[in-house]
């Protein structure tokens, strides 16, 4: 039965292509881990950069990235969740909602470097915040807003309509219904979606390139108006513009590994949390 044979060959081809992708991913991650692990040491994680980043540690970059991410979340989470609640519970079909959805989809598709230009134009220059944590965080917040809105709305819509009807029929107002009978069950889903946004914010370089990042800043930030180092930017400069590129290879790999662990760890955490909550709330 040659037909069955050809079929099986085809399936193996498809399997091969898919696993090739898997292998590529694994190779990248293993390469970073293999070369980055030796560079990790207590001094590396808690020390300050020396000799133009060729030696020492990357603490300021870790702190900087953390500040930026926290700032972005503080700005984007409330706005994003509120937008999702509006879209899921209040919005009626019409021109405004259509425009709103178009805006969200547009924001999701804006290239990261264009966000950088925007941040430069609005926060750094027009509002005069200068290159600072403030500018960087706000730019990142705009970038992760669509992610938070979309995943929050999904979490809200997962709550069955019968719960809302039951509450309304008892005489609860709309907001009481949302607050008592929808939000508690959708909050976990909303938060995990936001954690994914955090992961993205931590790993982005282009937006912070123009709005906050400094390369060699061997001290910690003291206010939101300070410039700051950041892990992705640090990796980029070390890899492309350091005069002694070969010598700093271990630092590069070390930085890459820290960034990778940070971002993937956060994403993994979000996925684990999400399946935990899916199991907890059976309807």
């Amino acid at each position: 039965m040659s037909k069955a044979r050809t079929e099986r060959a085809f399936f193996w081809l498809m399997r091969g292509a898919t696993y090739f992708i898997v292998l590529a991913i694994a190779y990248i991650i293993l390469d970073i881990v293999r070369h980055g692990l030796p560079a990790i040491s207590w001094r590396f994680l808690t020390g300050f950069p020396q000799k133009s980043g060729a030696e020492g540690g990357i603490l300021p970059a870790i702190v900087g990235t953390s500040c930026l991410v926290i700032g972005a979340i503080v700005a984007a989470l409330p706005v994003g969740m509120a937008s999702a609640i509006y879209l899921s519970e209040y919005a009626r079909q019409g021109a405004f909602v259509r425009t709103l959805r178009l805006a969200i989809v547009t924001l999701a598709g804006v290239p990261s470097i264009v966000f950088g230009l925007f941040g430069l134009g609005l926060f750094v220059l027009f509002l005069g915040f200068g290159a600072s944590i403030l500018s960087g965080s706000l730019t990142l917040a705009c970038m992760i807003l669509p992610t938070i809105i979309v995943s929050s709305e999904e979490a809200l819509r997962a709550v069955p309509q019968s719960l809302r009807e039951g509450s309304l029929a008892l005489g609860a107002t709309k907001w009481q219904t949302i607050y008592e009978n929808v939000l508690p069950y959708s909050l976990p889903g909303m938060l995990t979606g936001s954690i994914l946004g955090v992961g993205r914010a931590a790993g982005e370089t282009a937006p912070i390139l123009l709005t906050v990042a400094a390369f060699f800043l061997p001290k910690l930030p003291r206010s939101v108006f300070d410039q700051v180092m950041a892990l992705p930017y640090h990796l980029y400069i070390l890899a492309t513009q350091h005069p002694d590129v070969e010598k700093v290879r271990p630092m590069q790999y070390g930085t890459a590994l820290v960034l990778l662990v940070l971002v993937l760890g956060v994403s993994l955490g979000a996925i684990v949390l999400r399946s935990h909550f899916r199991r907890k709330y059976r309807w």
């Binding site: 079929e7 399936f11 498809m14 399997r15 292509a17 898919t18 992708i21 991913i25 990248i28 991650i29 390469d31 970073i32 409330p78 706005v79 509120a82 509006y86 919005a91 425009t99 709103l100 805006a103 969200i104 989809v105 547009t106 924001l107 999701a108 598709g109 804006v110 290239p111 990261s112 470097i113 264009v114 950088g116 230009l117 925007f118 430069l120 134009g121 609005l122 027009f126 705009c142 807003l145 669509p146 107002t173 907001w175 992961g199 931590a202 790993g203 370089t205 390139l209 992705p232 930017y233 990796l235 980029y236 890899a239 492309t240 290879r249 590069q252 960034l259 990778l260 993937l264 996925i271």
Partner: protein, 293 residues
């Protein structure tokens, strides 16, 4: 008609205001790009953007032609799409139609992982591992070529293509597949003749969204494509994309200079291109979803 309680009304307005932020931000993005770019139209004039060379820092005459940047982006995008589509679509078909459930539960999140790796880390990997490999295999003077960039971008686009294509394929009604199998078609025939054609609009949308991601990608390309602003269609040459140009040159440019404003124009072109692609992709997706409700 409904007598509302005042607290409810206040809440509604707050939520409405929050929701409007997205619209406001989009408008601001367009506004501020245009604000910084506009004076260029006066002097040296928009026609400069259509020149054939991008040479913004020069002692003789500066040229701000966008052509090499646009072709650079197009070349890299085209190559990346050519690599990503077969792997992405085949991967999606495999995951949704061929793989066992346990296999899929394992592979899918693993591939999603790829989408989570920061682009600068992928660019770094490309710089240190892939570029030397390309250089050796193709006997080139340097590994920093359009091809290298395209390969990295393909890797970044594949998870997007797989994810959305897979949704589209799973959405094809069971009844089609059952009817085909009942007529004696083999599983493979059913996939290629019935399922994939039925899911085609969704797959096309997935590819377009992947392309949108590719065009907008900055760090990975910047680190491995060589950054030579020339007009070429050879994958083995170094090129410059629009994104890399902005990222690389913005740091050095004097404020308010022609160069500075030209970079904002590059940003506008970039924004319009990705906006157009995403819009079309969303329309295709919407029509596809409606057809299959």
């Amino acid at each position: 008609m409904i007598a509302a309680h005042w607290k409810d009304n206040v809440v509604r307005w707050i939520l409405l205001a929050a929701a409007s932020t997205s619209i406001v931000v989009v408008i601001l993005i367009f506004l501020f790009l245009i604000k910084e770019a506009a004076p260029f139209a006066h002097h040296p004039g928009l026609r400069e953007l259509f020149a054939r060379r991008w040479n913004p820092v020069s002692f003789q005459k500066e040229s701000f032609g966008l052509l090499p940047l646009v072709t650079g982006s197009l070349l890299v995008t085209a190559l990346a799409t050519a690599v990503a589509v077969p792997f992405g679509v085949i991967g999606a078909i495999y995951l949704s139609e061929v793989a066992a459930t346990a296999e899929r539960e394992l592979l899918k999140p693993f591939i999603e992982l790829l989408a989570g790796i920061p682009s600068v880390v992928i660019g770094f990997f490309g710089l240190v591992v892939l570029a030397p490999w390309v250089k050796a295999v193709f006997h080139l003077a340097t590994g920093l070529t359009a091809l290298t960039g395209a390969l990295l971008l393909a890797l970044m686009a594949i998870p997007t293509i797989i994810s959305i294509s897979e949704d589209a394929i799973r959405a094809v009604p069971m009844s089609y597949k059952e009817a085909s199998l009942a007529l004696g078609a083999s599983p493979l025939q059913t996939i290629w003749r019935i399922t994939v054609p039925a899911a085609l609009p969704g797959i096309i949308a997935a590819v377009m969204l992947g392309m949108g991601r590719v065009i907008g990608e900055t760090m990975a390309v910047m680190m491995v494509t060589g950054n030579a602003a020339i007009v070429t269609f050879s994958p083995f040459e170094s090129v410059r994309t629009m994104t890399a140009t902005i990222a690389a040159e913005m740091g050095e440019v004097p404020f308010g200079s022609d160069h500075y404003r030209a970079l904002f124009w590059v940003g506008i072109v970039l924004l319009l291109a990705t906006f157009a692609i995403n819009l079309v992709a969303q329309k295709v997706l919407k029509r596809y979803r409606l057809a299959h409700e």
